[in-house]
């Protein structure tokens, strides 16, 4: 079967929908493929507040454990979020569908509709001109796209605190969500202290609504964010997909995995397989935009170009996690209603070099299951249960990321005799990373102590390479791929996701991927109009 359309987009994650918007709005026929069911997982919609669930009045097992105990299947201690709401097609199935092999690398990917954005925490930051110095892209274009995406999805936070400019002060931002008491105390101490030369702190910038926006509802401070947002205030690309489906020139084909990309007489031909592999269909289009997520897209680029034994880098932002104890909140109650994901963020300079810094997010531990909190405590379980109950109200969880230059992951791409491209990822961090962690934690321990909070001894966890799920930069713009996202050797094939990023600062990359996809989609729609 062959079908035609002006533009084919592969992937329904944040990059895919962001590239789709400008094209659809300019009247171009768009066909968007994704591997998921296309349906929204609404299991969280009717869930009561987290505190009500924990009072024992709503002993519903599905609320914590998912349908058919699905949340207990991924009990391998990666991220609580991946345990509590494992996305569709996460894990083994994702590896198999992408013929991926990993070594020392924690692969996080999902085949489901909306991709990883279905489990996104919503941390948002615009890269500044310095951070984009390596990008062959005019910064004003990016700035414009940042603004357009921010306007569409809705952000909350603050533009006039110490990190307002760092995260992008020119963006439309709704008021920040209220802080929970234990976090409030830390932030108040920071306010009194007035900052440090190497540590600045501010309200987290999130793709989470504090006011109703474009038909989406605001955060209800349910607290159970880790189990899925009941109001839909946390952005996932489902929201955009639903809006796009209302356009007559937008079509969405679900349950398809793209296996091959080839040149056709007039443009590009793609081969799509059904999820169970039973059905294969062929589609052709003048332009194909790849937005399947960095790893899947990189593999498809390699397949399209029939690369043999090609080795490329894969950027990640190596992460660490630790627990902060707020002694002034010991003995007090857990918050009844609060926002369960990042409330504050911080920036810690690792050296005097610009960009050599740690970007951290601070969560109230109340939003995490006590079982996950106590998982790495070296105590016997009865003690861990008792101690967690005692300390959790005063615990904050910090997640901090290093810039991409600290990672040294390698992808090996090879096309086998069947024309399939195999991908091997070898994870790693650059030499001296352990030392950098030790030094950073030593400094942070001192700083936080000044703010009255202490890093709980033994709580430091270094994430496995890849566990941060911030993947990018396998085929950066300016090499095989042009600044407009077009693959030089295969005109008509565009790449619009993390694959093409040139460098990763410590900040979260999703917002930049969306803005860049918007920019690529916008350029493409202009090109199609002129043609």
């Amino acid at each position: 079967m062959t079908a035609h359309s002006d533009v084919i987009i592969i992937g329904s994650g944040p990059a895919g929908v962001s590239a789709a918007w400008p094209l659809v709005e300019s009247g171009v026929q768009v066909l968007l493929f994704d591997a998921g069911t296309g349906a929204f997982d609404d299991s969280a919609v009717s869930r009561p507040d987290l505190s009500a669930l924990r009072s024992g009045n709503f002993p519903q097992r599905q609320d914590f454990l998912g349908k058919e105990y699905s949340t207990l299947r991924q009990n391998n201690g990666v991220s609580p979020k991946l345990r509590t709401m494992p996305p569709d097609g996460y894990g083994e199935e994702y590896l198999a569908a992408n013929t991926l092999q990993t070594e020392n690398f924690r692969m996080i990917g999902a085949l489901g509709t909306a991709g990883l954005s279905a489990v996104w925490g919503g941390a948002v930051a615009a890269f500044d001109a310095n951070e984009m110095a390596k990008y062959p892209v005019p910064y004003d274009d990016m700035k414009r796209s940042y603004g357009i995406v921010a306007e569409r999805i809705g952000l909350s936070g603050s533009t006039n605190d110490d990190l307002g400019a760092y995260l992008g002060e020119y963006l439309p931002v709704q008021p920040a969500l209220p802080l929970s008491p234990a976090v409030e105390r830390l932030y108040a101490a920071y306010g009194r202290f007035g900052g440090f030369p190497d540590l600045t702190m501010g309200r987290a910038r999130n793709a989470v609504l504090s006011r109703d926006h474009n038909g989406a509802r605001a955060c209800s401070l349910n607290g159970g964010c880790m189990w899925g947002c009941p109001t839909g205030a946390v952005y996932s690309s489902y929201r955009d997909l639903e809006a796009l489906r209302r356009f007559p020139n937008f079509k969405n084909v679900n349950g398809r995995i793209i296996t091959k990309i080839d040149r056709a007489d007039h443009g590009i031909r793609i081969e799509a397989k059904s999820r169970n592999g039973a059905e294969t269909s062929i589609y052709e289009s003048g332009s194909v935009v790849l937005a399947a997520g960095t790893l899947a897209s990189s593999r498809l680029v390699a397949q399209a170009l029939k690369l043999q034994n090609q080795t490329t880098r894969l950027l990640t932002t190596p992460g660490i996690a630790f627990v902060l104890l707020q002694p002034s909140w010991l003995g007090r109650a857990m918050p009844q209603s609060f926002y369960g994901m990042a409330q504050l963020c911080f920036r810690h300079a690792l050296s005097s070099r610009s960009g050599d810094e740690l970007f951290g997010l601070i969560y109230d531990a109340a939003g995490v299951s006590a079982v996950d909190v106590m998982a790495s405590m070296p105590l016997s379980r009865p003690s861990a249960v008792a101690l967690t109950k005692a300390l959790q109200p005063a615990m904050l969880i910090c997640l901090a990321f290093f810039p991409g230059e600290y990672s040294s992951n390698v992808i090996n791409l090879n096309t086998n005799e069947h024309g399939e491209t195999e991908m091997k990822i070898k994870g790693g961090n650059r030499a001296g990373f352990d030392l950098a962690i030790r030094e950073a934690v030593r400094q942070l321990r001192k700083r936080f102590l000044k703010l009255g909070a202490l890093i709980l001894p033994g709580s430091l966890t270094v994430l496995e390479p890849g566990a941060d799920s911030h993947y990018g930069g396998a085929f950066p713009m300016g090499e095989r791929i042009g600044a407009d996202g077009e693959v030089t050797e295969m005109p008509g094939l565009y790449v619009a996701d993390g694959t093409v990023l040139n460098a990763l600062p410590a900040k979260n990359l999703t917002f930049t991927i969306m803005a860049n996809a918007d920019r690529i989609g916008r350029n493409l729609s202009r090109k199609l109009k002129n043609a």
């Binding site: 003995g331 070296p378 009865p382």
Partner: protein, 431 residues
């Protein structure tokens, strides 16, 4: 291989045995007419398509079983499962050999298309036991078209009868099992698969080999089978002590003098010792059988008889929360483990089963990648406990208990850990 005519007639011997009883049940379900040749009725009793014709292995087989009658047409196959373990005669004139010879002659004279003889993986002329040698001699009788000897591996699952019943019973009785050559490889096959295979063999029109191997192509050490049975059925570990063959033979000879010593046990012990494996993949493919792994049946068993898991859930909960769990918790614990396909019960020391608090001395420190079995199960228990009202209050503080109470808890925890910590550390060093 679909059935051509579902109202076909099959003669079965040994219809009340472990395989026979299930075979008759399935045959009748699938619309076959069944004649049981033997002494007892088995599972077919009262079914309109079933009849019993009395026959003892030592007597001449009754010709009426093969004749066309008002209700029963000409049989398409004989499935000969019967075996007499206790013999009064010497091996050369074994009753089983004689009986099969006569049954086969009758079947040939009546022009029955298939004669399927249940042999054994242990069938060999130089087998250590009489059973294996007799089976091997009988196999030689079969040379005509449609005459097939089926060498069946270790049949397991279903009702606890036959060798399977003996094994289930045996591992439940003792924590230590002396055994001849525990590493002997066996080829397990589930009872349902055995029956499907036999029926397909009886009804297929494709040419068959004179000898078929029924069992997993990839053999499993017998001691592994026994350990898994002990674990799934009783939640306990089984120590297997290898004993030399001469000792076992002497012991069996001595025991054989005793009047109550079951003859088949002796035969089975010896049968195992000399067992060799047979490639079976092509035969399984021929019959369209895709054998499930041995543990699958044990997994399924957990859904019906989850007692070891209930006990495990109770012990872990008592350890974590120092209280008895509710039925709701236990039900969820068992359901969740079976739902996620990991219902293999933990093996816990008897002392811990008696006093769960003692687990503090053996609980390992958290490790990478989810830790060991006990840790994973403890974590699992806590996740389930979080969904039950009685435990969730022990996990979260939504009232604020004040600094004094918190200090008390911290102190108490420190003291408790100070007691158990050295033991855990020692355990870790020695592992």
């Amino acid at each position: 291989m679909p059935l051509e005519n579902p109202t076909q007639h099959i003669v079965v011997t040994g219809a009340s045995g472990y395989i026979g009883a299930s075979l008759v049940e399935v045959l009748l379900q699938q619309g076959f007419y069944v004649t049981a040749l033997g002494r007892s009725r088995g599972n077919g009793s009262g079914h309109p398509h079933f009849r019993l014709i009395e026959w003892d292995l030592t007597a001449r087989p009754p010709a009426e079983a093969f004749a066309v009658s008002a209700r029963f047409g000409k049989p398409i196959a004989v499935i000969h499962l019967a075996h007499k373990w206790q013999s009064n005669s010497c091996e050369e004139i074994d009753e089983n050999y004689q009986a099969t010879q006569e049954l086969l002659a009758l079947s040939r004279s009546c022009g029955i298309a298939k004669f399927i003889f249940a042999s054994s993986m242990s069938a060999r002329h130089d087998a250590l036991n009489r059973y294996g040698r007799v089976k091997a001699r009988i196999e030689e009788l079969l040379f005509g078209p449609g005459e097939i000897a089926v060498r069946i591996g270790m049949v397991y699952g279903g009702a606890e009868r036959g060798l399977w019943g003996t094994l289930c019973d045996l591992v439940g009785r003792t924590p230590i099992l002396p055994m001849v050559q525990p590493g002997t490889l066996v080829q397990p096959i589930h009872i349902d698969e055995t029956i499907t295979g036999l029926i397909r063999l009886a009804t297929t029109h494709d040419g068959t080999k004179p000898m078929m191997a029924f069992g997993a192509d990839e053999p499993v050490p017998f001691c592994v089978c026994l350990r898994e049975i002990a674990r799934y059925r009783y939640g306990k570990s089984l120590k297997i002590i290898p004993i030399p063959l001469w000792l076992a033979l002497t012991a069996v000879k001595v025991a054989g003098v005793l009047p109550f010593f079951p003859a088949r046990l002796e035969q089975r012990i010896l049968g195992l010792a000399g067992l060799k494996t047979l490639p079976s993949q092509s035969d399984m493919n021929f019959l369209g059988l895709n054998l499930k792994p041995f543990t699958c049946a044990l997994h399924d068993d957990m859904k019906r008889k989850p007692r070891p898991l209930i006990e495990e859930g109770r012990i872990l909960f008592k350890y974590g929360f120092r209280a008895e769990p509710s039925c709701r918790f236990l039900k969820r614990y068992v359901r969740a483990l079976t739902a996620i396909g990991d219902p293999r019960p933990l093996v816990l020391p008897a002392m811990v089963k008696r006093w769960p608090a003692l687990m503090a001395f053996i609980e390992p420190f958290p490790g990478k990648k989810g830790g060991n079995e006990l840790q994973r199960r403890l974590r699992f228990m806590l996740h389930i406990a979080e969904t039950t009202p009685e435990a969730v209050r022990s996990l979260y503080d939504y009232r604020g208990r004040g600094l004094f109470r918190i200090s008390f808890v911290v102190l108490q925890t420190a003291l408790r850990e100070a007691v158990s910590f050295p033991f855990r550390l020692l355990r870790r060093i020695f592992q």
